[in-house]
C-alpha cells in the first residue's frame, strides 16, 4: 500500500544486515560525523535533511532500523509509505551481499508498493576504504543490480565520506521522481492526514468550538 501523503517530505529507509554501516552512512551524510567505534544501533531514529533537486527543495527523512533488525524484529510499520529504499552491504562481508536479495524481497512484501517493478532502490556498497579486505567486487555488485531492473549502485565509505553525498543526492532524485508519479495516481480528493505535533495541538482553537 503506498502512501497517501502529498509531500515535499520523502521517506527513505535503509536496510541491510547488522554492522554494514547503515547508521554511519546516515550520520555522515546528515551530520558529517563518523565514529569508528561500532556499537549496535542505539539512539538513532531518523534524520532529516533538506535537499535541492533541480529547482525543488525536498526534505529527506532517512529512517534507521533503530537496531530492530538485529534479531530480525523489524515491524511492518517501519516500511509504511517509504518513497525509496536504500540497500546497504559491506564490501568486505560477502554474507551481507548475499542477504540483499532477501532484504529487497522483504521490503517489497512488507511495503507492498504500488509498482514493485519500478520502485526506486539504491544499492550502497560500504567500507570501500578497506580495499585490502574486499570480498565483493564492484562488477559483481553491478551485475546484481542489473538483474534487479538496473538499480543504481554506489561504492561508498562512511569513514572517508567517499561518494556518500552523491549517493544520497541520487536517492533523493529517485524518490522524488516516484513521488510525482504517485501524486498523479491520487486524482480524487482525499482529506490530508494529520500529523500530531505539539504545534498542531496548541494552534487548534480551544474551548467552545461546538
Amino acid at each position: 500500500m503506498s502512501s497517501v501523503r502529498r509531500k515535499a517530505l520523502l521517506k527513505v529507509i535503509i536496510l541491510g544486515d547488522s554492522g554494514v554501516g547503515k547508521t554511519s552512512l546516515m550520520n555522515v551524510y546528515v551530520n558529517k560525523k563518523f565514529s569508528n567505534q561500532y556499537k549496535a544501533t542505539i539512539g538513532a531514529d531518523f534524520l532529516t535533511k533538506e535537499v535541492h533537486i533541480d529547482d525543488r527543495t525536498v526534505t529527506l527523512q532517512i529512517w534507521d532500523t533503530a537496531g530492530q533488525e538485529r534479531f530480525q524484529s523489524l515491524g511492518v510499520a517501519f516500511y509504511r509509505g517509504a518513497d525509496c529504499c536504500v540497500l546497504a552491504f559491506d564490501v568486505t562481508n560477502p554474507i551481507s551481499f548475499k542477504s540483499l536479495d532477501s532484504w529487497r524481497d522483504e521490503f517489497l512484501i512488507q511495503a507492498s508498493p504500488r509498482d514493485p517493478e519500478h520502485f526506486p532502490f539504491v544499492l550502497l556498497g560500504n567500507k570501500v576504504d578497506l580495499e585490502q579486505n574486499r570480498a565483493v567486487s564492484a562488477k559483481r555488485a553491478q551485475s546484481w543490480c542489473q538483474t534487479k531492473n538496473n538499480i543504481p549502485y554506489y561504492e561508498v565509505s562512511a569513514k572517508e565520506a567517499l561518494n556518500v553525498e552523491a549517493a544520497f543526492q541520487a536517492i533523493a532524485r529517485d524518490a522524488l521522481a516516484r513521488e510525482s508519479q504517485d501524486t498523479s495516481d491520487f486524482s480524487d480528493f482525499a482529506p490530508p492526514s494529520v500529523r500530531l505535533t505539539s504545534n498542531a495541538q496548541s494552534s487548534g482553537s480551544s474551548g467552545c468550538s461546538c
Binding site: 501523503r5 532477501s102 559483481r140 474551548g207
Partner: protein, 790 residues
Amino acid sequence: MVENEPNMEEYNNSIDDMGLIHKHGDLITLPQCLIIRIERVGILPGGVFKLNERVDFGETLDVRPFCFNKNRSLNEKDYTDSQQQRNRTAEETSRILGGAEFVSGGSKQSPIRPVGIETGLAPQISTIEGGSFVAEFKEAARYAYQLRAVSEHIGVPESGHFVTYRRGIGQTEQHRWHRISDADASCCFILKNIFLHFLRLKVKRVPISQVLSSEAYMLYYERIRPTNLSLRWPSPLSFNFRNGPTYIRKMDDFPKDVDVVVLGSGLTESILAAACARSGLSVVHLDRNDFYGAEWASFNLQGVKEWIETLTKKEENQKEPRNDENQSSDLLKDGEKLVKISRNVEMIKDISQEWSGQSDQTTTVTKNEVSEEKTIKEAIESDFRKFSIDLVNKLLLAKGPMVQTLVDSEVSKYAEFKLVDQLLCLSTSGSGICPATSDDDPQTSKFIRVPCSKGEIFQSNVLSLIEKRKLIKFMNFCMQWNQLPDAVAEEWKDFSDKPFEEFLKAKDIDGNLLNYIVNAIGILKPNATTEVGLKAVCEFVDSVGQFGNSPFLHPLYGCGELPQCFCRLAAVYGAVYCLGMPIDAFVEENGKIVAVLTNGLKQRIDCRYVLMNPAYLPEGYCSYSNPSKEIWVDRAVHITNKPILEGDKEKITILNLAPLNSLAAPRLFEAGFQMCLAPKGYYLVHLTAKRDGNSDSESVLKTVEDEVFLQDGEKSSVSLWSLRFKLRHSVPPLSESNPSNFAVVSGPDSSLTYAEAIKEAQLIFARFWSDRDFLPRKPRTVEEEQEDTA
C-alpha cells in the same frame, strides 16, 4: 529423466527386487529450469502404444536428494569438506556444489553450522549468525523448485489432444492455474498429425488438483525465489520448508542482564517498554509471536489466515516440553526456583472466518488496462496485502490522554492519522427497516449524521432552529459547568448520580436533539450518569476543533501501528527486540523473579523487573478464576464493497449502536482505502461490544449485523467476508504469594478510546519507578536550540 544432462554426474543404474530399473543421477549445478520428460510412448513389435500409468508429481520439488554432496547437515564430514573449499573468489558463489556454496573470504565461517552434537537437538537444526538469517533462508530455498507448467497428451499415439497447464505469473497470479487445450481451440488445422495452428484459444482456470492428476508427459519446474515461497516473510523460527532446516537465531550477543524484561508486544506492554527505555532503564522486549502487537496487532488478509492457523495449532502444541528440569539445571544457581510458563491464559477465543455467499458474485477488475471477470472473493484475495485488519478497534480522542502521550513522547512522528469525519447514530424515527438512502431525509434514513462543530450544527438540516438554539445553550452550560461546577450547582446537583438522559430531559432537550447528545456522548461513556455525561460532553467539545471538525482520530494503516510506534521509540532508546522467541520459565529467588529463561531454556536473561501480557502468566501465579467474572470484548470485522451510508465521498465513520443493547454498548467503525485499510472500493466494518462472563453465548453482534447489513443487496452494504472472535480484557485473579517485582497488564478493553491503556501503563510505571518521568519529551539538542533562536 532430467534434461540438463551435462550437469549430472554418476549414473547408477540398478535393478531392485521387484525387477524395476532404478536410474539415478546427481545434480552438480542447479539449473534455473528443470524440465522432466515422462516417457509415455512404448514401442513393441506390433507398433507404438501409450503408457497410461499415473505418475505422481508435486507442486514443489525439493532436489536435495538428487544433489551431489547434499547431506551437509546430516553428514558432518561432507560438511567440513565443503568448508575447506570456501576460499574461492566471490565470482564463483553462484556455482553450487551439492549443498555447499563457495563463499569468498576464507576467514568467514559458514553461518550455518550443525549444532546437533553440542545441544542434543535434532541434527537438521542449524544456527545462524545474528543479522544474516536472510541469506540463510535463501540457502534452504535454493533446493526448491516450483511447478510452472505441465504438458499433457490425452488419447492414443495416433490421435488425441495436447493440453497445457500453466501457472500464472506475478505475485498475485501465481496461485492460479490455466488450462489450454487444442480441443478448445475454435479453429485448428492439423497437418500430417503434427502441425497445429490455433487461431483462438480458450483459456480456462483450473484448480491445482486437476493439474496434479493430469496424464503429464512434460513437467516444467523453476527454482523458487523466496517471494514465491511465502506470502509473508517467514519467521526464522517457524520457517520449515519440506523438512528443510529449522533455523534458530544465534543469540551470542543477546543481553544477559537487564533492568526490565517485557513479555508480549501488545499496546500497554509496548508503552511500558518505551517508558522504561526512555527513562534510561535497560530493556529486553520479547514476544513469542513473530509479529508485533499481540492482541493489538493488525494483519493483512493472508496474515489473518495464518494467525488463525497458529492459534488453532497452539492448542495442539500445549504439551509440556520434555525433561526441561534437567536441561535448565545448569542455568539455575543455588536457592533458585524454576517456574514454568504455560499457555494457561487464553487471550483470544471463538475465532471464525467466513466468506459470505455474496462474495461469489462476479465483478470486473481492471488492471493495467486489461479487464478481467473475477468473483468478488478472487478480487479481494488477489489484493490481500492491501487490507489491514485490526484485532482491536479504537479511536483517539483529540484531547485525550493517548494523543497527549504520543505528542509528548514524540512517538506521534512515527505514524500518521486521519480524522473520523462522519459521526452517525441510529435514527429514532426509522425502525431499521428502511434502507439507507440519503441523510438528507431523516424520515427514511436508517442512520443520521451527528453534527460536531458549531458550523455543522448551523448547517444541519435535521435540527430545527429551536433545537439548534437549545443545543448551543446547552453547550454553553457545559462550558460553565466545566470551569465552575459549583456556580451552576442548582441546575445539576440533584441529577448527579442519575442517568444523563434524565438530566437532559429536565433541561427541555428531547426528540432528535436528545438522541444526538446521548449518542454522541454515549460513544465515549455508555450509560453515563449526569456527572460522567457532563464530563464527557466537555471532553467531546474540547476535542472538536483540535485537528478539524471531528473529535476523533484513527491511525493510517490501522490501530496495529501504535504498539509498533512505541516499540520503535523503545528501540531508539536502546531496548533490544526479539520477536518469535519462545518464553519458557521464570527463575525465582526470595520472592522475586530474578531471571527469564527463553529460547528453549537455553538463554537466561537476568532482570530486576518483569512486565507482561497475561498470556505469559505461569499457572501457579493465578488463583481460581470464576468464568462468570471474566470480561471479554466481542469483535467482528467485515469486508464490504459499499459503505453503510452512501455519500458522494468516501467517509471514515463511527456509529454508536448502544441503543440496540445498552449493556454491551456495541459500536461500528467503517473505513477503507482512505485510511489505507482496504483496496479501493472496499471497506472494513469493525464491530466491537463489551461482554461479561455472564452473557449468553449468542453474540449481541449478530443482532447488530442484522440491523446494519440488510438483505437487500442492491441498495445497502452487505458483508462479503467476516471474522469473529473474542478478546480477553480481564486479568485472571492472581494468587497472593506471587513475586513482588512483576506486573501484568490487562488485555484490550471494549471502550472507544485508549484512555484505559494509557492509564494502566502510567499506573504500573509509577508503581515501580515513581521517581521517574513517564515518557517525557526528548531533551533538545544544542543544534536544535540554536535553530530555534535563529
